[in-house]
Point group: C2
């Protein structure tokens, strides 16, 4: 009986796994060098935790399940709620600020599309406990540190940045009430994702007043921070958040990441919980979905029953990123290698003085392989025991072995033949000397 | 609103994550040096796939869910069914033998107990396409290679080994029919797990004939392979599988792993699909559940709609292993370190000739940190910008920084103060020379 995999999930055969490991190892390396510590939570949480953060609409995007006691659980669609729960649980004992990263496996019950699967991996970086826009700058730098590390340049990607606090102040100054802000953000978030007509229709539904609508549409065409004041007069709060945004760009310049970053007033992020700086990372041609995005969420921990503590962070998924890197020829997983491939010449035996078989080349191969592994070397042999030496050498080459060891007649004099697979050079070495040298190197 | 984690799951705070990473990285390293390639599958599969392998009883141990189309899915409780599915899907293009490993996250809807959680990680090693008992020996060696790597000795752990093929032949020779074998295995598997009386009661239910039962009980007390023939006369098939077991122990000796391994006729493994060599790894005092176990399953791929191809492998979970390593003082996760911690002296500015502020120590700290990170070094700074230098130095020490850089008055002459945190020595270095040296080292 043949059973297929579930649609929207992936099988990671060794070649696919090499790509996934290469990407995730890169995320980890860059996170660590940026001073972040790794954490993770369970693959499932109580369903209500995700509802609390994202509202009831999230439920249909979740894979939900029940435990034996009938409690409603869900596979995590994101890790931020878990982060908030974990931080709140130990808030008094955790040294602040908290600089944490994670590379969770996440699931969403969406219709699979290009760059959007039902199961994926996401790089998450968060700084909790810092009000200063320096923390927002650092998270953006960290994302760009990785993206540069794999070879992407300002010709390939762009970080589009705005400030919800600023947008809120401006919108309120033109007469949008506090309560209208959140649904309006959801509409504005769709501006680049929908045809102009459909977007304006949505906007009309949300903002009845034509004057206000015209101002909003004009505001959305602003191309620099300076231009904003030519559309609307800035309130004191708006000015402060404009300055904050200015300081962010200044810091990104100081960090050497300025070339990747632009102001884009259209970036508002769909999710309700962002409170300040928001950003999204795109391929320069805007042909793909967002590579990642994030921002400030100063109210989330409180909403989760914790203290009033500021936070900022981002998520970068593996699917869109892999498509972009593949297109740019920048997917460079490490091929698997062996230090030694051990073979033997058939039809010989190693006898004692009386002519009794003391050991076979096969057993000596197994013994030597085991010794090399215990010394920390990547060593393997062929299971095709009866094949010719030339076929075994071919297998050594297929397996990317650096050196091939041949156990032959010389073994009777305690000697091994060692072939360098790159140069083709072959030499006889004393087995004890060889092992002593390997031992020295592996330290 | 405070929401707790789900019972039986774990939150991995950085200290816990360091342990998990240390263990999994060790599994990966040893797998690679033993010539295995990594694979993984999705976190959920069709429910029927797990039923196919383990029968309907498995369903109540699963976390099952439905997708939007109402199809029944389950979070994987083990990865072997996925392995069988994946191998079958590409059977003709995969080079044989297949030597694969995986470190899947798995979930079981069991009652949480010591060493048994609802979510855990498991190291899996499998060799597919090799009949030779050498493959069974290699998997056992590989498990022991890791367990020795972390410091466990034959005084700490033991691998108990038997052969189902042998047991089948012996049981058949005393009159147990083929069809009675599987349920009898399930009973025999309980021998060490139940009180003697309860076990004998179960056995009586399964084997009505008293003579047969007496023979089985006598057989179960056998302490060496040689003793078996004193209880029952060995059939030709039984002799062959006794020889196979003998060869396995011979190979384990050749590999230098013999000291860890004993014959134990009571090891049958509960699962139905094992067909030959079977083994379980225990702590020497038998105080914990099995650390791991495995064996040969030559029929599984065929049962999953694939060809008739032999396979052998094991699984080692993280929970029991962590308890054992902790008890033995062998849990040794790497502490997180920084190469550089960058600080500054407050209340100075860097001005141009006209006395205008060119930059602040804060910005220079951020710039230098960014540069070091881009060069591949682990570098961080303190967000407590206004704190005294001595407090910042304390933070550098808490963060395990090897060196602390101080941006002070000397920065005006392009000099940095670099403090070695181990020796306490401090020296002034030219900033460009310093960066050039770092660049050289990081290559």
């Amino acid at each position: 009986m043949k059973i297929p995999p579930v649609k929207g999930t992936r099988d990671f055969y060794p070649a696919d796994m090499a790509v996934r490991n290469w990407m995730i190892d890169g995320w980890k390396k860059v996170s660590l060098r940026n001073g972040f510590e790794e954490y993770d939570g369970p693959i499932f949480e109580y369903l209500k935790m995700f509802q609390l953060k994202s509202g009831d609409e999230i439920v249909e995007q979740l894979f939900s399940l029940k435990d034996r006691g009938g409690r409603e659980l869900a596979i995590r669609p994101e890790i931020t709620p878990t982060l908030a729960r974990m931080v709140n649980q130990k808030i008094s004992s955790l040294p602040k600020p908290i600089k944490w990263f994670s590379v969770p496996r996440l699931c969403r019950a969406e219709r699979p599309q290009r760059g959007r699967l039902r199961e994926f991996f996401q790089w998450n970086i968060d700084i909790i406990g810092v009000d200063d826009v320096l923390a927002d700058a650092e998270t953006i730098f960290c994302a760009l540190d990785y993206l540069q590390e794999v070879g992407l340049t300002p010709n390939d990607i762009v970080v589009k940045i705005s400030n919800r606090k600023m947008l809120a102040a401006i919108l309120q100054s033109i007469g949008i009430s506090q309560g209208e802000l959140e649904p309006l953000y959801a509409v504005l978030d769709k501006r680049d994702k929908l045809p102009q007509e459909a977007f304006e229709e949505m906007l009309t539904k949300q903002v009845g007043d034509e004057n206000k609508r015209t101002l909003i549409l004009k505001l959305m065409t602003v191309e620099s921070i300076e231009q904003i004041s030519s559309v609307v007069e800035l309130s004191k709060t708006a000015k402060e958040s404009v300055d904050e945004l200015g300081r962010l760009f200044e810091l990104l310049d100081v960090m050497g990441a300025g070339d990747f970053c632009v102001f884009d007033i259209g970036i508002v992020r769909g999710l309700a919980y962002y409170t300040g700086i928001v950003y999204e990372i795109y391929d320069k041609e805007s042909e793909l979905r967002a590579i990642g995005g994030g921002g400030r969420y100063d109210n989330l921990l409180k909403q989760f029953g914790g203290p009033n503590i500021p936070a900022t962070g981002f998520g970068v998924g593996d699917c869109v990123l892999a498509i972009l890197l593949e297109e740019k020829g920048l997917l460079k997983p490490k091929p698997q290698e062996l230090d030694y491939f051990i073979t033997f010449v058939s039809n010989i035996t190693f006898n004692d003085k009386e002519g009794n078989i003391q050991s076979t080349p096969e057993d000596e191969m197994v013994k030597l392989t085991a010794k090399l592994r215990r010394l920390g070397l990547k060593a393997d042999f062929s299971y095709k025991l009866t094949e010719s030496l030339s076929k075994k050498l071919k297998e050594a080459s297929t397996r990317n072995a650096q050196k091939c060891i041949i156990i032959g007649e010389e073994f009777k004099d305690n000697q091994l033949s060692v072939k360098d697979m790159a140069t083709g050079q072959q030499e006889l070495v004393d087995i004890n000397k060889f092992l002593a040298e390997v031992k020295l190197q592996s330290r």
